[in-house]
Amino acid sequence: MTTFGLAVPRWRVDRAGAPIVLGLVVLAGAAVFGGSFAGGQNLGNIALDASYLLLIATGMTFVILSGGIDLSVGSLLALSGVLTAYGARWGTLTAVALPLAVCAVFGVVNGLLIGRARIAPFIVTLAALLFARGFAFAVADEGNRVYIIPAGLTLTRLGQARWLGLGAPVWLALAVFAGGLVLLNLTRFGQATFAVGDNQEAAELMGLPVARVRVLVYVISAVLTGVAGVLVAAQTQSGLPTIGEGRELEAIAAVVIGGTLLSGGAGSLSGTLAGVLLLKVIQNLINQVGTLTAYYQQVVSGTFLVVVVLIQLRLARRRRV
């Protein structure tokens, strides 16, 4: 008998990077700003702010793991919000079902064009980005009309509800995230998602339903973005076609900072959660420093992104040797 490989599970720096940095940043923030940062009120705000991004980034993780990219989520967020506000006149059910149905259609079309017609994900979702943004403006009458969601509507009450100090969107995002964990790690679809992103040709030769996987990940991404859009609209009681610009890049950044390879095949949802929190905590800390403008948050996020990708590259190279 011959023994190969390492029997001892190894400390995974590439996976643990974001949580470690997150921990350090939170500690530093608490030390410097004390209660104004670490107090329940502020932490609740961070969580609420992060919940929308977590929903989008969860879907984005599936897409990136499969070797793709979804640029359409920022625009879809706006479209979903506008449709929620538009549909609110017929009640809560329509206000939720309409945007989710439309987003699902976007996801299916994206997925079919990428998975079956084999057009590059970048191109397809860039087209969807333009299409969805235009559609959102068209529904909102070129932005001249703002649909208001009535305060008494069930949706508004649900969207603004708080349990245990955390807003409803936070609980929903956590529930979705937990579902994502199970889907990714404990189902054949999840395993196939990794395989497709890792080596598509091998996945095909192994008899995996490659096209179906590639369609489904874009549906997941679009529908979760739709959910985020509904929640944003419920929070603000309105649907604005201008929101969400650049959100797709923020979501991609969160996923990559969380240790998922942009080329697909390796990564984790827990990393994405850490990436999302890290971006939002940094944003919050910079807001605490009164003298810095919010733009410094982007400077810091950009720096993090480069550092994380550099570390990933180094690790990937060492693995290959």
């Binding site: 011959t2 490989g5 189902t187 890792d198 080596n199 008899g207 095949g265 693995r319």
Partner: protein, 503 residues
Amino acid sequence: MTPDATLEVREVRKHFAGVQALDNVDLILRPGEVHALVGENGAGKSTLIKLITGVHRPDGGAVHYRGAPVAFSGPREAQAAGISTIYQEVNLVPQRSVAGNLFLGREPVNRFGLIDRRRMHREARDILARYGITVDVRSRLGELGLGVQQMVAVARALATDAHVVIMDEPTSSLEPREVDLLLDVVDLLRQRQVAVLYVTHKLDEVFRACERVTVLRDGRLAHTGEVAATDRLRLVATMLGRDVDFVRRHGATTFTDEHRTAAGPPVLRAEGLTRAPRLRDVSLDVHAGEVVGLAGLLGSGRTETVKAVFGAAPVDAGTVTVGGLRKKRWDPAAAIRGGLAMVPEDRKAEGVIPELSVRDNIVLAALPRLSVAGFVSERRRAQLVDTFVERLRIKVASPAQKVRELSGGNQQKVLLARMLCLHPKVLILDEPTRGIDVGAKAEIQALIDDLAEQGLGVVLISSDLEEVVEGADRVLVLRDGAVAGVLHGDGITEEAVMRVIAS
């Protein structure tokens, strides 16, 4: 239909755009038999495998499997029917775990449809243990050696109830220890009455692991029979398409240890080139005006050797000295500056740029020396191109003609011209006459002679034994990535080369 055959291929023919890839080829695989399939480039091995697994349809003939004629729609259907193929390149997902790879697409699930990891890991351990491999099934596949990866691929292929296993050069990137492991598994398959088609270039493995051997050459069945009744030398001769008795009568058989004494130091000296597992301690000297031939079967390390010399492939150890400049690490740009030039084996993939004109293709590599501050002198360029078109007798309507419109022979001359523009001291030619017509072949051979006469050192690789034997002043015979013998002067005969290969 042969009564006890698991798989029988009868008189299959396949034609691709003007080439008869397979011409009335038969193959019979019996249960518990390991059948070697050998042949040089273009012999039709891959086409035969693809006909069996349904990638291609035969133009004529039939494939019978377990008593009935079959025509699979593709590898997936063939596999479902019990014909598994293990490819040369490991086709798995490297970033997933060993167990994940073994079970991908058919993971054991609990009653909620969720993957039962514990069971998956336990079953994975059991399966691998059956093949004598203990490995942490949770470790990432890509972190393990190629041998283990190949074994996982084998285990996966066999997890479906296979009656036929096709292995396409499974050991080409394995270490000797890993080869042993793989051959043990082959033995296990034999005991389980599986029919194995074992495609290889390594004669040792044919004689070690296989009962029967089929040799293909130029799409035809050149030989089939018991391995025990096959003579090594004759097998090599059959693969290369030479007649042993003819060679024996005509060739001299004296080995000489005497070194050719050329004036001055060698212009190119490579020492101890090693790249596990494909290249082991290969050394090579080339003097001015000398043609050094590299002979050996496909996969013996000829191309790897020249690529290492040229700095186009990494090495673990070894040095290359060109024109007194000694380096451990070359890259092609440094090699060219040092005076090396190489015309690669694959004209299409590594050589000509088909959409560019003959003129642009020729001067491509010489652009740096034709230009001043980044601007190319049109006059000097035209002059240079005209010289070479005339000297190499490249048949073109005009230098502005696109290279893809030229014949293979003329494309090869364009590549030669490109390299000669650089005034190299040593010219490396990898299969310079493959796939070109007889006339052009003779012209290129004459040209090689001329160039050597003018003082150029030449390294010549050719699968055409005659070309190496007649063209070279010295022949290095490679086998399994190492120099198996060196032939000089009168000692260079086709039989001598084959003897070294078969030894």
